[in-house]
Symmetry: C2
């Protein structure tokens, strides 16, 4: 198949013009720019073509909380929100997980997301009893991604404790494998037989995983060259508890457990120290920011500028899915920093778009994707330029306009591995609003 | 005409169900809820009906800067952005102002905005020479609102100085009437012959208007019971210059010039003191926050929580139109505060929606609008609930979902004064993307 577009972003501040992409299987075979006219057999993509977007941090089931935690939140916090999230987590089963994740991943596809990193910790039945298939919940997520047509890295999360030195209780029992060795045994049974699936590891947080167990998970990931993610310093209370218990910050603790490497991604890293920044930078680790969730959960403004100064590469995630708006996620990195510093322009638009695409692909273990170049995965998104948000933006400023004013509803076509998943803003196989209604009803019942 | 909807927000945390609205002329004559079935002749509005949204602070021409100030912003600030804005202001004439404002107001209509407060200071020809019609620019804005179908309060701004004790220069010459008396004479010639138009006053800022001139403008507004707006403490540098020159904060200076009243709206008020808050509260003044612009211009997080505690009523504006997304504007009031405080839930969703609707109508001098009740202006918006953003939200949580996840592209129908301006997401008389392309091209040429 040959695709042709008047505008395609191959990196840098400006899009290339009159671009033909020759696809072969799930890959881009060649990229040709400045063509005088479209190749005769080419299929035209309207608007601006960008690489597929990676959602590097997702808890799909939390989509059911959208619009349901604000009214009762008076003088609430991350921790009161967590109680609502636990109530939801306590109510799910593999069927409702499948319904929720399928609808949520399909909503992502419509927003131009072609790769999801699902940070998955809801493993077991009520009370912590394993399902007959101990990976029944993971299997539901894998099936959901297949049916929604998106690429998936299942970041299977180890979660053992309800807090440092505290036994898990309530919904947390469903998260726990009891030991890191049992976690590894269970995860070992997940087979990425699907070409659109990879398995990665996650340490939920220093709250939920002790240093020795972290070392076990890190070793598991290292042996397989698999991505390893962890929630890091999302809230000041986590730092306080960690310093009290260990005399070290969460990042220092992870470093001590040999978790930091170029396969490691710190999620949030909102409240990290200068030493933490140095540790992440020296390890060539990555950081996934989730600005719309960090706003929603009152986490605070992230450290994007200081991370970039340390050459820590950024990825982006919609996390709790309060919104699934990748361009809002990208611009919020810069905008929230402006609120905190009074300085404009710490991150050029192309750097933010790179975080949303290639940065996320690398964080999730798909370094061969997230860019438009010969040999890369043919994960592609065409953004319509005829909406009121983007109409009239000159070609030289399109990346600026896209990142700072684009919206999910501007997405026209989405291809994953060379196959159309979304055409003209419509999912090719799922009625996504209907899927969402059904999924939400199953949870509220 | 009788309108019928399954859901309509009449205020409070939850929408009313099965609602009929009988219209008469430009007003709502009656509101009936819990109808067993639709009245036979009723026209159905799909989704959730809310009052029309007020955009209480707009500089329409700045829409041309969207997506054009980010790339070059490295280590920039509000003040470097202002240079780009001045370059644009210097290039406009009444024709390009008309084209830009018409397209921008039409984009607003599509976003559910039925009333605009245009804070208008670009009055004169290059070098400060008055046009043959000294209100040629204001007339262009009035015509633009008529053609876009939105209600308008033209907040004609007095602007005399380039800074405290500094003569205007460059583009600023176009803003200046030289004296407040000359400003009043010019504004006096603006006749609100149109029922959709009202004239209000503005003091650009304490940077641009000295205290005696402010008193003249305030007196003009008081005699006419007209709204009076002013930019207040948007940046710390304004406070510093004001304290240096006068030994008073901008709000204290405005209070001393008798500008504060229940017709006064402080725009931004980002960096105000406790005493300023007390002054605004005691005067029953209002505050217009513009969160997406305040993010873009690195102004800082606003004072919404402290203002609400002082019972200062809020309005919202999209200001520079980096985005025209009223629900993002509304939720950002709460979300940005969360980033600064770590606290969730300072503002219930219904309070944020009230700021976007009735709060703005009152700020702009249309207290008879911005609510769905008998006797109110028939300015109405129907939000589709079948998008992926809102599908599946239960009726009890709809206001929560709308404010925290709704988008401009969810707007279905918009009525202003009982007449449809937007139907099924399409403007009834303008091709808005084409208008935007033409307007942008006229400015870039």
């Amino acid at each position: 198949m040959i695709l042709w577009s008047e505008l395609a972003w191959l990196g840098g501040p400006r899009p290339a013009q009159n671009v033909a992409l020759e696809l072969s299987g799930d890959r881009i075979e060649s990229v040709t720019t400045d063509l005088a006219q479209p190749p005769p057999t080419a299929e035209r993509l309207h608007g601006l073509v960008i690489p597929g977007i990676a959602n590097a941090h997702s808890h799909a089931f939390q989509r059911a909380l959208r619009g349901r935690t604000q009214q009762a939140a008076t003088n609430g916090s991350f921790w009161t929100w967590r109680e609502q999230m636990y109530a939801l987590a306590g109510a799910l089963d593999p069927d409702s997980m499948l319904a929720l994740a399928r609808a949520t991943f399909a909503e992502m596809a419509l927003a131009g997301i072609t790769l999801v990193g699902e940070f998955h910790y809801l493993h077991h039945d009520r009370g912590g009893t394993p399902y007959a298939d101990p990976n029944a919940m993971g299997a539901a997520i894998i099936q959901a991604a297949q049916e929604a047509g998106v690429r998936l890295t299942l970041l299977d999360a180890c979660y053992l404790h309800g807090g440092i030195g505290i036994a898990p209780q309530g919904a947390q029992l469903r998260f726990s494998d009891k030991t890191a060795e049992a976690w590894a045994q269970r995860v070992q049974q997940l087979k990425p037989v699907e070409p659109m699936l990879r398995i990665g590891a996650a340490v939920h947080s220093v709250r939920a995983v002790d240093p020795d167990s972290t070392a076990t998970v890190a070793d598991w990931a290292a042996r397989r060259r698999a991505p390893l993610h962890a929630h890091v310093s999302e809230q000041p209370a986590e730092n306080d508890a960690c310093l009290d218990a260990y005399g070290a910050t969460p990042t220092e603790l992870l470093a001590g457990a040999a978790a930091l490497s170029d396969r490691f991604t710190a999620v949030h890293a909102t409240h990290i120290s200068g030493h933490d920044l140095a540790l992440l930078g020296d390890a060539r680790a990555r950081c996934c920011l989730c600005p719309t969730t960090e706003r929603d959960l009152a986490d605070g403004v992230g450290q994007a500028r200081r991370l970039a100064q340390r050459r820590v590469r950024l990825a982006l995630g919609s996390d709790s899915h309060a919104l699934i708006e990748p361009f809002e996620e990208a611009r919020a990195v810069e905008l929230d920093e402006r609120l905190a510093t009074g300085i404009r322009g710490s991150h050029p638009p192309s750097e933010l778009l790179e975080a949303a695409t290639g940065g996320g692909y690398e964080s999730l273990g798909w370094a061969e994707g997230g860019a438009i170049r010969a040999g890369a995965l043919a994960d592609l998104v065409a953004v319509r330029l005829d909406s009121v948000r983007l109409a009239g933006a000159p070609a030289a400023d399109l990346i600026d306009a896209l990142v700072f004013a684009g919206a999910a509803c501007d997405i026209g076509d989405v291809l994953v591995g060379g196959r159309f998943v979304v055409r003209d803003g419509v999912h090719v196989s799922l009625d996504v609003p209907a899927q969402l209604r059904t999924a939400m009803a199953s949870v509220q019942a």
